[in-house]
Subunit: 238 residues, 2 copies
DNA sequence: CACCTTATTTATCATATGATAAATTACTAG
DNA sequence: CTAGTAATTTATCATATGATAAATAAGGTG
């Protein structure tokens, strides 16, 4: 009856040209496709990630439905409320981004710390250095301090503490399990510098920026040089 | 009818309890106070900064009016649209945060680069390391790439290029005006690491974090050690 | 084919929100 | 004190948005 306002006015300016494709036919009307519960749920979450990463979590459920090629009320068959959908998005974005092989790779003492963490950060960058992840995690951090807090904790335990420990061993400072808050400050600076680089490069899309590998190398060098200087006289030959 | 979820669950966690105060009387009804055009405008912008920094730029004009102790339509007497108010907020937040004395201080070659930039960053931190600025600039960056771009340009020209130049002079590498993009990567890493620290410390309010001065010192050391290593052999006595 | 389950859509509601017009009242000049 | 200017409020609109109920139809099963 009434012309489905979403089709005549797209407030987010987003190109939401995700109309259900005419499979092979030409002028197929927006035919209904029935999907399994899980498949549909996945499509909705994916659309929500795309929408939220652009418009923030205030992005409307109608725009999400439009992206997913469904009507807005259908969304509520799978998520009781928008807040539930947001939480599904949190999970999708934050979980399952960690490659379990990394745990072992970081503590493989047959290789220099620099090489290990260079390789790791290059792979990690491939996982999270894209506009969608960077933007949505920024929005999440601003909206929900708790989840950002949790993610920082993960980074600290999985990446930064291993880095400090492995570096200590490499410098012959002994193998301690405990890592103090003070000792974490330097690796946090390094990690933060890379995240900031990623935002400049992949969110702002500043042109002519250095290659990610080079920047990772530089950031790691900064940390390694600092710990070297801390360990004793700078460059003292042992 | 239904209980207005925002009153029982305030997603932004904002306490918008800013009822217009009874001036000196006790039970004074919300008395009208007439202000000059400029004074009222300032109050509105200030309220908008507070509101936007908490709820993002989707914060409602009604909440802003509430914070400012006025009614919502009055806001439109001073700003033709919400977008105009947002631009006034951009100006308030981004401009006038630079102390002109800093320009000279950064190139005062009677002092070591470390000391100069340590002092500068400590003062700069006092200006922008607070939740309001950090949050609103994050929101602004996500919403308006152009303004974030512009701000990055300012940082680069006013802080990072001077740092590179002054460091070169200190290392006896000559006084060049041109600073290549590659040469800016390291100072950007340093600067970014400090911004990331600020967010962890002042937005997430993680407890037990190191003092800002110490962190600035560490970040500067990272950069200085890296340039030292780049300049020739690490720690080669000249 | 006929039937039934349920995915999907249509229609609709209640509230939130940006914005405007008209009524009101605080302050000031004469 | 009076009148007038303009700051401020009250009333109101149009649309956006989260959410729900009922109608429709796709696809599997007998």
């Amino acid at each position: 009856m009434f012309p489905n306002r979403d089709t005549i006015f797209n407030p987010s300016g987003v190109d939401v040209a995700n109309t259900p494709q005419p499979d092979t036919h030409e002028e197929t009307a927006p035919r209904r496709r029935r999907l399994s519960r899980d498949a549909r749920k996945d499509e909705i979450v994916q659309a929500a990630v795309a929408q939220f990463s652009e418009a923030g979590f205030d992005g409307s459920t109608r725009d999400i439905a439009l992206r997913a090629g469904i009507t807005q009320p259908l969304l509520y068959r799978y998520f009781p409320s928008k807040e539930d959908l947001i939480e599904a998005v949190y999970e999708k974005v934050y979980l399952d981004r960690w490659n379990p092989a990394w745990d072992a790779a970081l503590i493989d003492r047959s290789r220099p710390v620099k090489d290990r963490f260079q390789d790791f950060y290059e792979e990690y960058a491939q996982t999270i250095f894209d506009p969608e992840w960077l933007r949505i995690s920024s929005f999440a951090a601003l909206r929900n301090a708790q989840i950002h807090d949790w993610y920082n904790h993960v980074v600290q335990e999985m990446i930064l503490k291993p880095l400090v420990r492995e570096r200590r061993v490499e410098l012959g400072m002994g193998d301690t399990v405990l890592v103090s808050k003070d000792a974490l400050e330097a690796p946090w600076l390094m990690h933060g510098s890379l995240l900031h680089y990623a935002k400049r490069r992949f969110v702002l899309e500043i042109d002519g920026m250095s290659d990610t590998s080079d920047v990772i190398s530089q950031a790691l060098d900064m940390y390694l040089l600092l710990t070297q200087a801390d360990a004793g006289q700078p460059c003292a030959d042992s």
